[in-house]
Structures are given as C-alpha cells and as structure tokens.
Symmetry: C7
Subunit: 95 residues, 7 copies
C-alpha cells in the first residue's frame, strides 16, 4: 500500500524526540505552537506555479524535519501513525 500525497503535501512519520540523549532537540512544553520531529516518507505531486511549472520541494524522502504538531492530518497505515501536511508548514530540516 502506497500513499501519494497531492500538490504541495508531504507524508511524514512522526518521531519520538530523544530528550534524554545529550544534544537532542527538546521542545519545551510551554511553547505556544509546539513543534514535533518527523521523517519524510513521501513527497506530493508538486504545486503548480502561476507559469504552469512545478515547484520543486525543499525536503526529500527520509529527511528528518521539524513540524508544527497540529499542522497536518493524522492517518494510521499498517499500525503506524502518519501526518499529511503541506511542505510550507514544515519549519526546518534537521541534519
């Protein structure tokens, strides 16, 4: 089973943040708009710009990203949780 997101959406698998690990990213509980780590599983078909050209994605498959917790739509495939969200809403890529 394969999920092909449409337009500028991406399929992301949320990751547990290793808060215990030294140097990990800790998202403070008090943050107004709490972000979340995730792995990019699939890119969308791409957004078409005003000149009819496809806009390339800034993220790629397997990228670890920082995303707002409630910016996407939750689904569960074969027992795992995923989010479908617009690339525009992803905050950053983590190397």
């Amino acid at each position: 089973m394969k999920i092909q997101p449409l337009g500028d959406r991406v399929l992301v698998e949320p990751m547990k943040d290793d808060e215990q690990k030294k140097g990990g990213i800790i998202i403070p509980d008090t943050a107004k708009e709490k972000p979340q780590k995730g792995k990019v599983i699939a890119l969308g078909t791409g957004r078409i710009d005003d000149d009819g050209k496809k806009v390339p994605f800034n993220v790629k498959k397997n990228d670890v990203v920082l995303m707002p917790k409630y910016g996407g739509t939750e689904i569960k495939i074969e027992g795992k949780e995923y989010q479908i969200m617009r690339e525009e809403d992803i905050l950053a890529v983590i190397d």
Copy 2:
C-alpha cells in the same frame, strides 16, 4: 443520470475503510480533521488559470483517495451517497 462537476470539483463516492483488514488505513477517531477514503467517480470541467489554460487534474477516474470528511457537499444518487469537493481539498491518492 450523470453528474458533471464544475471547475476544479470532483465527484467522489465515499468508501468504508477495511479497518479489520491487515494493513488497512485506520483513521484515528481522535484525529482533529478526520479524513475518509473514497473513489473518484467524475472529474470537473477544470479550473482555468490566469493565462486562460485549463489546469490538469492530479487525480483520475477510479482513483482511491483520502479526503477530509467535511470538505465537500453530500448528495445521494440512485440510493448511493456521494461528495462533490474541490480537488485541492483531496489529501492523497492511495495505491
């Protein structure tokens, strides 16, 4: 009887999700914006872009799609329920 959606709208027949089937997509009841599976029955006449050209659809007839539950307009034809919704609101195609 045939329904021809207008502009960038599509006619979709909602499908029951086989939650029991192994590997099926399960939409958690707690999801904020609960999505729903459906089959594309008819494409619209197409959206016209700023240059006067028709924008092609990313979905095609018989595609199984993931869509927000309350994103479209419900109608019933010959006893079956359908949704008319904008393609933009469809989240993903499922293979």
Copy 3:
C-alpha cells in the same frame, strides 16, 4: 420582462427534486451545506479576466444544475421564484 444578470452571475429557477422517482438525486436532510436542483434561465454578461478577456461560462441556458441552497439572491418574477448566483458557486451540471 427579461433579467440580464451581471458579470459571472446566472439566473436559475429552482426545481423540485423528484425524490420519489427511482434514480432521482436525493439531497439528505442532514447535509451540512444542503444543495438544490435548478434550471439555468439566463447567463450573465461574463467575468473579465486579468488580460481583459471574457471568461466563458461552463453552464448554458436550460442546463439542470446542482447549487447550494443559500448561495444566491432570491427574487420572484411573474409569480415564479428564481435565484441570481455566481457560476463559481454552482456545484455540477446534471445530465
């Protein structure tokens, strides 16, 4: 007496849906945004796009259409009820 809608508006005569007829379109009472059947009586003068060209209509006179119930403005001409609404708000053409 003739009504010439302006811009991208159309004049539509609402139709009673033959819910009893087998195969008719039934609009469920529980639908969030309840649609309604109607017949196109007159097209508007047409919308002008950014390049100064008239955008053609996707509906034509006598088309039977599916429209949102409260998307237009109600008027009564010679005893009959009509709606003036934007074509953009019409959901579909029914053949």
Copy 4:
C-alpha cells in the same frame, strides 16, 4: 448639481417595485439578502485594471437594475433618495 461617482461606483435612484402589477418582480420578504430595483443615474470614473486600462461598465445610464438593499451608501439630493454603490454589487439589469 451633479454627482460624479468615483472609480467603479454608480449613482442609482431606488424605484418602488410595482408588486401589484401583473408580472412585476416581487422580492420576497423572507429573502436573506433582500434586493431592490433602481435606475442608474450616473456612472463612475471607471476602475483601472492591472495594465492601467479603464474597465468599461456593464450598466449604462437609465438602466433599471436589481441591487442589494444595503450594498451602497444612501444620500438625498434635491429631496430624492439615491444610492452610491459599486457596479460589482449590482445583481442584474431588467429589460
């Protein structure tokens, strides 16, 4: 005394609808956004589009139009009531 509306505005004199006359337009009291008949008295200076060209009006002087009751600004000149409103808000021309 002459009123020259600015931009895409028009000066309209509201008319009493001859509801008694057979075949007249009757605006139902229950209508959500109640329209009103009026006569176009003066056209505005015209809207300038993105290419710097004037957009022609779809209505002309003396046209009888159907307009939303509270879409314009009321003024009284030499004892008569008028409305200044944008052409975009006029629903239709009545022949």
Copy 5:
C-alpha cells in the same frame, strides 16, 4: 505649515452641508454608513502600481467630494479640522 499626504491618501477639509439650501445634498440620519461633504486640500504622493508607475488621482485640489464620515483620520491644523483618507474611500465628486 504644509501637510503632504503619502501614497494614495488625500487631505480633505470637511464642509457643513447646506441642508437648508434648496437642492442641497441631505445625508439622512438613518443612513447606515453616513457620508459627509468635504473639500480636497492636498493630494498624496501617489500610489505605485505593479508595473512601478504612479496611478493618477481621480480627484483634484479644491474638488468638493462626498466621503464616508469615519473613513479617514482626523487632525486639526491652525484651528481647522481635516481628514486624511485614501482616495479609494471617496465616494463621489460634486459639481
């Protein structure tokens, strides 16, 4: 002392309407968005359109205009009251 409005703003001096004078413009007290007469004292520096060109004003110095009462910003210069408002918000020129 000179006030040079910026962009598409104009400086207007509100005028008392000669309601007693025969043929004067009377603004009904019941009007939803009550307009007001005024004299144009100074034009702004002009709005720049998308092609980088200045958009000419439709009003000129000393024009008597009809304007919404609360559409601008009130200031007092040398004892007189003025309004600084966008030309777009001026309804009409009175000849």
Copy 6:
C-alpha cells in the same frame, strides 16, 4: 549603536506636538484613530516588488511625519523612545 529597520519599515522618534504654538497641528482627543507626530531617524532596507526591484521610500531621514499612534512597535534606545513601523502606515509628511 545603530538600528537598521528591515524591508519597508522605518525608525521614527515620536515628537511632542506643540499644541500651544499658534498654528500647530492639534490631534483631537476624540479622534477614532489618534495620529502622532514623529521624526524619521532611519529608513529600512526597502521592499522588493514583484519584478525584483526595490521600491523607493516616500519619506526621507529627518522628515517630520504624521503616524498612527499604535501602528508600530515601541523600543527605547539610550533612554529615548522610538517606533519601528511600515512606511505604508505613515499618513503624511509635515513641512
């Protein structure tokens, strides 16, 4: 210490209005959107328009301007109060 505003922002030092001086600008206390006098201290880096060109400012350093009281962001540098605001929000230049 130097403050370089970004984009179409300007740094303005609010000035006390000499209400006592004959001919001064008096901002009535009853004004709905009370304006305020100020001196332009620094221009921003400039807004980039759709063609990639910098849009020139209509105000220059040391201009005395009229600005809405709550349109900007207050900061204090070396004991003096300043406002950082968008040029678009400045009402007029006072000569």
Copy 7:
C-alpha cells in the same frame, strides 16, 4: 546537529538585553507587541518569488536582530533556546 530552516525562515537565538548597560536597547514592559533581541544562527533555504527566483535575505548569520517575542516557534537544542521565524517578521538589524 544542524537545523536548516525552510523557505524564508531563519533560526534565531534570543539574547538577554543588557538593560543595565548604558545605551542598551530597553524594550518597555508596556509595549503592545513586545520585541526581543536575538542573534541569527542560520538562514532558510530561501523564498521563491513568482518568477521562480530565490529572494535574497536581508539578514545574515551572526546579525543581531530585533524581533517580536511571539512571532516564531520555540525549540531547544543542546540545552539552548532558539526561535524559528520568518524573516518578514524581523523588525530590524542592530549594529
């Protein structure tokens, strides 16, 4: 570990303002939209304009900036607090 912000976002490390230091920037507690000092740690991948070209940033790495306190998203990396925010929301660069 490296954070690569996406699009027109930047990664900023908030700085304590040396309010005691003579000549420091003091943000009054009463300011409506309280700004905050910070150091730019990383620039985003850049915003793509309507012509498909990347828009350059006005800030650069290590710039000290003035930013609205609640304009971004808070994260904590290796024990330090950061903000991811759009460059558009940064008010000024401090030299």
